[in-house]
Amino acid sequence: MSPKEILNQLHQQGLVSGDQHRIMADIEAQRPFSLHWELRSILYVGILLLSSGLGLLIYENYDNLGHLIILGGIGLLCMAAYGYAWYVRPPWTPALTQSQSPFGDYALVLGCLLFLSLEGYAQYEYTIFGTRYGLVTFLPAILFLGLAYRFDHRGVLGMGLTALMAWVGVTVRPLDLYLKTNFFDARVIYSALALSGLVIGAALGLQRQKIKPHFTFTYLLVIGNLLLVALLAGIFNLDNLRLLFAVGLAVACVAFDFYARREQSFLFGLMAAVYGYIGLTYLLYHYLHPNEYVFTFYLLISGGALVVYLLKSERVKERKSVVRHSD
């Protein structure tokens, strides 16, 4: 049904007055077609292609002069991108804010990606950080987190968190569903747990202080997944501490579920349900060695129970929102 048909029907029912009908019909007929997200997507893909092209170019062998020109050019472009982003920077406020130019946010992303390429090359060619490999990822992490707060940019926040995860030995590329790490190494699991505990604590603290509270979603989405994956890895791989990790996973899932209801952000409820279910199923299989009858019965009962639970908790939310409306 087109907006026009709906409008006519509402008018016939007497729910919209004649004048209103005329004005709205005019507006609907002349409503321009928005290309906003299509154009942003093209711009974005352009930035990703340009930065990966330049990132490859650095490592190619040209004569000395050519190489210096390439390095200098990328350096200048990086500074120009940062400079432009700063020139149109949003005013500092702890609340949600926006760059003064439609291109500010994109320039910032370009600057950050080029910085990463240059920094990686500097370590590769000149080993500026020596053998302190941690610094190679920790430095951009801190830089990006700072920039994310100053410029109110959730994408750069995601970059900072990705760098932080790389710092503790976890490489993620969410779009490729790619995760590279060594969770058989207990140290990696502990570092991931320590990092996620720290970061989530900091995120919730900042939310409480009302400093960029809209960042909490990104924090919990990225680092929350790291936390839950690390807990599962502990259950799977660390035989001595399996039960301790099981308790940890249970606590984390309950906490995520609680948060999901309080903030009505149901993605976190789904995360709790899925990770919790994987952990529970593994523990059941590991300790009880159920036969096939018990196991299929378990799938039936547990699946059904989770469906009821997920849709029920939805109900709670609905009732709450009804109450809020009538306030």
Binding site: I6, S52, G53, L113, Y121, Q123, R154, T171, L270, L299
Partner: protein
């Protein structure tokens, strides 16, 4: 005959539009309340993430139940007729279950009903396929699946079942043609013709069917799919590589690493650019988002096709130039559209899924970060690779 109430779907559409007008300030709160009174919608209203979870866990529960019954009835289901009858019974049981969910609990595409519809259709297809003689050709099996799936689609208006019906339809054409000696050569033309016909048919039906609102999502998906097949079937890369894969190889000969040149190559080179061009034109004239997006993606695919066969420049320089061109072009158009022109604007739509785009941006930028940090050809960082830098679009 339909599973869900068309009236309530109709009312829901009116309410959504009224809410949008309220957000834009055209309707007052009391007016919207009056509209809500006049157009009741008793459907369950649930969150998309709860629905995803409910979808998955319903699937697990049904899978467990199915396996359990199979275990309990071991020995009884050994011949194909009894196994087929069993699957048909399971399908019937699920249909009754869906009926009750809709009747008693007001389900409307809340996850469990979606997956149960898909499973009911799948079990019925299994039943038909085990009963068919073993030497039944694949294309016959695919063709038989189409009316069954369409019946489910007509009754439930479900998107996934409609998608399965289209896949079965295309698979039937594909496998039937390959059995013919001239089939491989005719394949791209048949697929293009069928897709175009399919799109025209959907487009007509959509505007003439009295209850077409019931099928809005299914129609929309079918339009996207048929047009994607149309543009792919005319693309030089797809035709040449698929042709190379399907070519019969002499026994003992390795498959050539480069797909051989195809006949009528010039025609496919023209189609590679012409079809996206027509899409972009239609998108511009009709102000149709589907054609705009398909036109853009089609041009991306066409450009990648050229690059794949004629790599004049090293990848690094190629990416740099294409990236620069995309940035320059989009910046120019964004600046140009600061004022609405030709009925186009850069102001975001009230209905655009802003949150979705922001999260997609964050995820793709994280992928690029992970890939960039992994690029150094250093022992410490593993092998250097291009990684997700292209974010999966065309590259």
């Amino acid at each position: 005959m339909k599973a869900y109430s068309t009236t309530h779907i109709h009312n829901r559409t009116i309410r959504q539009q009224a809410d949008r007008w309220q957000r834009e300030g055209f309707l007052q709160a009391d007016q919207v309340n009056a509209i809500r009174q006049a157009y009741p919608v008793p459907f369950r209203d649930s969150n998309v993430f709860a629905e995803i979870g409910a979808f998955v866990f319903t699937g697990i529960a049904v899978g467990g139940a199915y396996a359990l019954i199979m275990l309990l009835m071991t020995g009884l289901l050994d011949n194909s007729v009894s196994f087929g009858a069993f699957n048909a019974l399971v399908s019937l049981g699920l249909i009754v279950l869906i009926y009750n969910l809709i009747r008693r609990y007001n389900f409307y595409r809340n996850g469990p009903d979606n997956v149960l519809i898909v499973l009911a259709a799948s079990f019925l297809l299994t039943a038909v396929n085990v009963v068919l003689p073993n030497d039944t050709a694949l294309w016959v099996r695919c063709l038989l699946a189409v009316p069954i799936l369409l019946a489910f689609a007509a009754y439930y208006g479900d998107v996934i079942v409609t998608f399965m019906a289209l896949l079965a339809f295309y698979a039937a054409i594909f496998t039937a043609l390959l059995e013919l000696s001239w089939g491989r050569a005719a394949l791209p033309f048949v697929l293009m013709g069928v897709s175009l016909g399919l799109w025209l048919l959907i487009n007509r039906t959509k505007n003439r069917l009295p209850d077409s609102i019931y099928y809005a999502d299914a129609f929309s998906m079918a339009e996207w799919l048929s047009l994607i097949v149309l543009v792919a079937a005319g693309n030089y890369f797809v035709v040449r590589e698929l042709n190379g894969l399907l070519a019969e190889i002499e026994p003992g000969q390795p498959r050539p690493t480069i797909a051989p040149q195809i006949s009528l190559a010039w025609l496919f080179w023209i189609l590679t650019f012409l079809i996206p061009g027509v899409f972009a034109y239609l998108g511009f004239i009709r102000k149709d988002r589907m054609f705009v997006v398909l036109g853009i993606l089609g041009f991306g695919a066409a450009a990648s096709t050229v690059r794949y066969y004629y790599a004049w420049l090293p990848l690094s320089i190629h990416l740099t130039l294409v990236g620069t061109a995309l940035i320059g072009g989009s910046v120019l158009v964004i600046r140009y559209l600061r004022q609405p022109r030709f009925g186009f604007t850069d102001v975001p739509d009230e209905e655009s899924p802003r949150q979705f785009f922001l999260n997609a941006e964050t995820l793709s930028i994280m992928s690029a970060t992970g890939a960039t940090m992994n690029r150094q050809p250093d022992m410490k960082f593993g092998g250097g690779d291009l990684g997700g830098g292209g974010a999966g679009r065309g590259y």
